[in-house]
């Protein structure tokens, strides 16, 4: 069909157009390439970390060496890429000016970069009600709203600062959800993590604003090893937003982040991500390797963790935000939109591990494939013998644009309790010529028609995002598939 062929062409045409492909010229403090025990010691020393932190990192490094020797990178995901040379990566880089007392001291060029990305760093945050802990490359350079949050007892700071200022919390919770030896990339992260965000919300406190962090990868060949730890104490609530765009680079860049969420009795954490890193060009050259471990533990009764993600970027996405439902009556949610266009590969999904009684989980996954992309949903729902009354509902839909892409669904469902109720549904569809023609007959351009249909397909997920993010995400979907027709 002519329309289809055109659609494919337009989708492909989009790759030339990555809108955030600029490079900021800030002299980085760059550690030479390569990974050894010395690298780990250097990073730890640079951050003036206490001995226990260094020991922790070294333990992780040794475990990683064993894993690299025995099994290497995990091979089960439906993604393919050339073997990564872990000695050919920079493990540390930081903007040179580091001790900033106010925003005025931030490199103007960096601020200009944020400007282009639309990150509200100045007064605009107040209007937007957003506190931003901006991570540029690996080191936090500006944190706002600290005062206000501090008054409420909320700690929102960089991970490095937390290690220094709140060692008792970090020691207690770091690695408690994602153990040091959890998986190849998480272990690597544990050894060399550069920085990230730390949040602690004390009992009964409802964080009054959306906390957000924007990540960027800037320095060429700089591995990004963000580490985020978020603890929501009894009866507390926090909503955390994470958004990313990265400058265009020719060579593949590795990103292996770890995010840990700890949710106590009656607490609630909402964690939303919009990921739009450089996906590579239309032939699959360049782009970010996004190998992320995100996991939350619903430790207390009636606690709730909700992951929402819109994944449009990266050459390869390997990511399974999960929830361990330990507390009775705890709730886990996963709402995901993953777009893969051109040569992108996405293997993403979730794990819901039901341990407590009457635990509930919901999984809504929308995968969109175009060009020659491969998009896989991979998920696990496990109901342990003690999880009486557990409930899960999963809905995984794939939308295909063009006949050269792939949409795959691989759910694992393991149920060991009779009183559990688990339902899973998956469908595959495409944008039909009928739908396109109908929209166009009403005056919509082909691009708008595709964007309208795709947004409709993703609606259940998009409406879970906080308002300002939802708008951004909708735009992003449009941009990612722009020109997929005509």
């Amino acid at each position: 069909m002519a329309a289809n062929a055109q659609t494919i062409e337009t989708v492909e045409g989009l790759a030339g157009d990555y809108k955030y492909g600029f490079v900021t010229d800030i002299e980085s403090e760059l550690l030479p390439k390569g990974l050894s025990e010395d690298t780990v010691r250097f990073i730890s020393a640079k951050k003036e970390e206490p001995q226990w932190m260094l020991d922790w990192r070294l333990r992780a490094y040794k475990a990683w060496l064993r894993m690299a020797k025995e099994k290497g990178e995990p091979g089960w995901a439906k993604v393919s890429y050339p073997e990564i040379d872990f000695q050919d990566i920079h493990y540390y880089s930081a903007p040179k000016k580091k001790t900033l007392k106010s925003l005025d001291e931030v490199d103007p060029e960096l601020l200009a970069t944020y400007e282009k990305l639309g990150i509200p760093l100045k007064e605009r945050e107040i209007l937007a009600g957003v506190a931003v802990d901006a991570v540029f490359d690996s080191v936090s350079v500006a944190t706002t709203f600290k005062g206000k949050l501090k008054d409420m007892g909320i700690i929102f700071c960089s991970m490095s600062e937390a290690v220094r200022e709140h060692p008792e919390l970090v020691q207690k919770y770091l690695g408690s959800v994602v153990p040091v030896t959890d998986n190849f990339y998480a272990t690597l992260n544990s050894a060399v993590f550069s920085d990230g965000s730390f949040v602690y919300v004390p009992p009964g406190v409802r964080c009054p604003m959306e906390l957000s962090t924007y990540f960027r990868i800037n320095e060429a060949k700089t591995g990004q090893f963000e580490r985020t730890l978020l603890i929501c104490d009894k009866g507390a609530y926090v909503s955390y937003l994470e958004g990313c765009t990265a400058p265009m680079r020719d060579e593949n860049q590795l990103h292996a982040a770890v995010v840990e969420l700890v949710c106590m009795e009656d607490a609630e954490i909402r964690y939303a991500t919009v990921q739009n890193w450089y996906p590579g060009d239309k032939n699959g050259k360049g782009g970010i390797y996004n190998f992320v471990t995100k996991r939350g533990a619903c430790r207390g009764a009636r606690s709730k963790i909700s992951w929402t993600q819109v994944e449009t970027g990266s050459a390869i996405t390997w990511k399974y935000p999960s929830v361990i439902l330990q507390g009775d009556d705890s709730v886990g949610e996963f709402y995901s939109v993953a777009v893969a266009n051109n040569a992108q590969q996405a293997d993403t999904g979730t794990k819901m591990i039901h341990m407590g009684k009457n635990t509930k989980s919901t999984i809504i996954s929308k995968g969109i494939s175009a060009g020659r992309a491969q998009n896989t949903y991979r998920g696990l729902v496990r109901v342990m013998p003690g999880a009486a009354g557990a409930r899960n509902y999963s809905q995984c839909d794939s939308l295909l644009i063009g006949d050269r892409c792939g949409g795959h669904t691989v759910p694992y469902i393991e149920v060991k309790n009779r009183s559990a109720k688990v339902e899973h549904e998956a469908t595959t569809s495409r944008i039909s010529d009928d739908q396109l023609f109908y929209c166009r007959q009403r005056g919509l351009s082909e691009e708008d028609a595709v964007s309208t249909i795709v947004n409709g397909f993703c609606k259940e997920v998009l409406q879970k995002l906080p308002m300002e993010f939802a708008v951004e995400a909708q735009k992003l979907l449009g941009v990612s598939l722009e020109g997929s027709v005509g």
Binding site: C405, T409, P411, I413, R430
Partner: protein, 434 residues
Amino acid sequence: MSALPFVEQLAGAYRAAASSLPGAKTPAVAARRDAALEAFRRLGLPNHKLESWKFTGLNALERQSWSLPANDGGIDAARLKAAALTADSHRLVFVNGRFDAAASMIGALPKGATLLPLSQAGDAVQDALVAAGDDRTVSLSELNAALASDGVVLLLDDGVQLDRPVEILNFGTPALVNLRHLIRLGRHAQATVLESYRDGGIAQPGWSNVFARVAVGEGARLTHIRLQGENPEAYHAALGRVSIGAGAHYAHVSVQAGAALARHELHVAFAGSNATADIQGLVLARGKAHLDHTLFLHHAVPECRSNQLFKHVVDDEGHAVFQGGIRVAPHAQKTDAQQLSRTLLLADRAQIDTKPELEILADDVKCSHGASIGDVDAQQMFYMQARGIPAHEARRLLLSGFAHEVVSAVPEGALRDHVEGFVEAWLAEKGVAA
């Protein structure tokens, strides 16, 4: 316990039996069997490292000692009779892996029809022993190719239709049994095949290792029923490879109702357009039975339709596994592939692992899968009890209704009655947990 390692026991069994296996006098067949044994030695038993064996392990086999059974199993005639179809059929009975002519009855066949035990199949033996593939997942079928002592060869020329079902009845004292079937239907041919795997009912380790190659020609129709119910210490591993020609129809119903561990792995590939496959399964697990259905549907060509419905009733410490893969190849447009898996867990220690998988590489397709797991519906139970039906009876009725959807896929008449009897017997055997 034998001191010999597991693989060497099997190699020893092969050497002892080789000269008496079908086709032993044909050098090409003997060479193929030698090669198959070597392949098995190299590959070993499939294990958890293989994605398709993630939920099912065969380690327990290595803890037994195995040898091929003696020819005369000595069978319980009454049990055999009870296991057989009451209606007329072309019946081939295998006892301890050998064709039992006395218990069998092959009726008059139309011209162009060949129906023989493998042990009498002459030239067809070589054809039947062709390897199922060359990856690790075929190691059991290679072992089978080495040790196959018998099986059924059914060949129908173009347009030939059988008026009676072919009944393959496997019976005997539990032992290591390797049967290999070859079923090939020419264009527009039609047949119904019933495979039954039973034993004397004495709890005793046995190992049935079955391989079936099925080719359904253009426009042909094959109805293929499989009943598997062996003693609680038996092992059963079956691999089936089915290819379906253009415009052909393949209907498969598989009922698993016992054994310590049973796995039925079925690969169905469409070889021509406009073909259809309806594949249904019913799993009845109690005690410590581990019952596994693993399916791969390859939509390699455009415009084919497949439908899978699998139902599981799991009681006691039973463990059901359902893996249902659907692959739609690039250019296999207008594919319609549906899959549904439903499970009732009846006891606290019952469990199910399900992995329905879609791999879709064409866009103009209708593909979906669904899986649901739960207990018997409490409202339905209450409704029936409120009408005065005792709980255990209400439960049995609901289970029977649950199973019926699959049973009703069997053609009406004696065949369906037979399958229904098999299912109802299981349900009645021990008042299922209330």
